[in-house]
Amino acid sequence: MKETLLLTKHMRENPEDSHLIDIYEKNNGYNAARKVLKENNPGEVIEEIKDSNIRGRGGAGFPTGVKWGFLAEDQERYLVINGDESEPGTFKDRILLERDPHQLIEGIIVTSFASNISKAFIYIRGEYAKPARRVQDAIEQAYEKGYLGKNIFDSGKNLDVVVHLGAGAYICGEETALLNSLEGRRGEPRLKPPYFPAVKGLYNKPTLVNNVETISSVPWIINNSGKDYAKLGVEGSTGTRIFSLSGHVNNPGNFEIEMGSSFGEFIDTFGKGIKENKSVKAYIPGGASAPWFKGSQLDIKMTIDDVADAKSMLGSGAVVVMDQDTNLVLAAKSIVSFFAHESCGQCTPCREGTTWLEMILDRIASGRGRTSDIDLLLDVCDNISPGLSWPPKMTTICPLGPSAVSPITSLMGSFRDEVESLLPKKVLINNE
């Protein structure tokens, strides 16, 4: 098993100066943008993307070409790049922003052309100050060259790009919350319907919201072809993907691979095995929102559909490995605390429920649990995500609340003993 370098090729080959426009151009950079603006019409570009079958890399996995095709007609349309990467375990956008900003800008130019957009925003989480600086430098270089601004590449088209810094709110990774945030509002998810971004997005105008990784893939697809891209990976999960590997592995990092190999293989090959040669107790296949797999499930294939069939999700492509000695109650509590902290507070079940779950887990973890707490935990979960099924049903506007349920159902489903061992034993009293 080895990496297939599409998005990370340039940065690997030019480790010290991949961020400079001259170096990027020396390596075929901006040719996709130049070609498209000179030779193509927008419809052709959208077709190329559709041919690639690339699905959004933000977590939801919606086909990108289809999304572009949905964008409603309007004089005023916007492109917003979602660089609010905050899903625990995920750091793949960070490398793309930091080490190959021009690839993203080129993707933005092509995407904007395809969708007849002249204003794009890159929303980068505030904690990514350094990556944001890199992108801002790169944008300034691109303006100087005439690749951004008025009449780009002498095409008669205009395009302005603004980097907008987030300020510490995971929920802004949700696209409608991100739009609220970009409008200078609280990052609360909007109602869908009626606020589908493609129809009523930024300033209520049709807006394309795409992930950094998705748009960074666009130049390769244009330089090669949608069909070539579709040949990579497997059906339903074409192309390459950058997986972020962390936790108890010897060699954590970002690895760009074609989807389709197993998690076990991935962890062994790139993670170089588990620290201190321990075994895997559990792992998270797709970021903190995803239900966990057990150490005995390492043969599941890393594709969107395989993971879904196994009742979890590939999500943001973040694999977190927990070894045999991990205190899973504390691990679950860490994730629940995360969601409680990041709940926007709009919906009652998420606002109140996630905090309540955190309190109960805290009680259990510190030895103050009650025997009834397991039922209580599960029932509170059920009131956030009825039926505790996968994909989750929701009593909330967005999936943040149900995400807090994932670690608990995982814990209770596969590691119930571990929880029970922290609780007082049930005493059976003979009443007769």
Partner: protein, 203 residues
């Protein structure tokens, strides 16, 4: 403190970047964060005038986001990640060490305004867990011992500009990925260093 002409000019430049004034609210709040170390009431009033919304609307937005501080901060904001990858890689011990060194509990600032300490959720450095940010400059693979050294360094050397690469070299360990590019940029306030808000600084 009210804003001087220079700052208002800067604010208006930022407002110009957006189709609607209100979008500039976030960056404008960072201007206040840089200037005062937190979002003080006077800045809220200034911002509300600049973008034409009420003071409480500004406060409502500011208080939603954790990076806009509602209390004055110290010169160095120490943010230690406690999310899953860091949690299982012993961020607790690191947190305890910093607490002990600074004498601060979560979200506290010391009296001489040197440190503000906070436990934070995922900062996207999971491969380099446990990770710390100083004024939003990331240091990865920080051991509990190195964390103490980092604090000592800040306290004793009092560097003006915080640069991730420098701290990483001195106090960091395993990284999320090869940082590659040499970088001297950073920030000198508790607002993230970023060109548009004028907080990016070279060492």
């Amino acid at each position: 403190m009210t804003w001087d002409t220079k700052l208002i000019e800067k604010a208006n430049e930022i407002i110009e970047l957006y189709p609607q004034k209100r979008s500039a609210l976030g960056p404008l709040l960072y201007l206040a964060q840089e200037k005062e170390g937190y979002i003080d009431d006077d800045s809220v009033v200034e911002i509300s005038k600049l973008i034409g919304i009420t003071e409480v609307q500004v406060r409502s937005v500011a208080s939603f986001y954790t990076m806009y501080k509602q209390e004055p901060t110290g010169q160095y904001l120490l943010s230690v990640c406690k999310s899953i990858s860091c949690e299982i890689n012993n961020s607790r011990e690191l947190i305890n060490n910093i607490k002990e060194f600074t004498g601060l509990a979560n979200n506290e600032t010391d009296e001489d305004k040197t440190f503000t300490f906070e436990e934070v959720e995922c900062i996207g450095a999971c491969g380099g867990a446990p990770a710390v940010q100083v004024n939003y400059e990331t240091v990865e693979g920080v051991t509990p011992t190195k964390a103490l050294e980092l604090c000592k360094y800040l306290k004793e050397e009092v560097p003006k500009v915080i640069v991730a690469d420098e701290l990483q070299e001195k106090f960091g360990g395993v990284k999320s990925f090869d940082w590659g590019i040499e970088d001297n940029s950073g920030t000198s306030s508790t607002a993230p260093g970023f060109q548009i808000i004028g907080t990016a600084e070279e060492k």
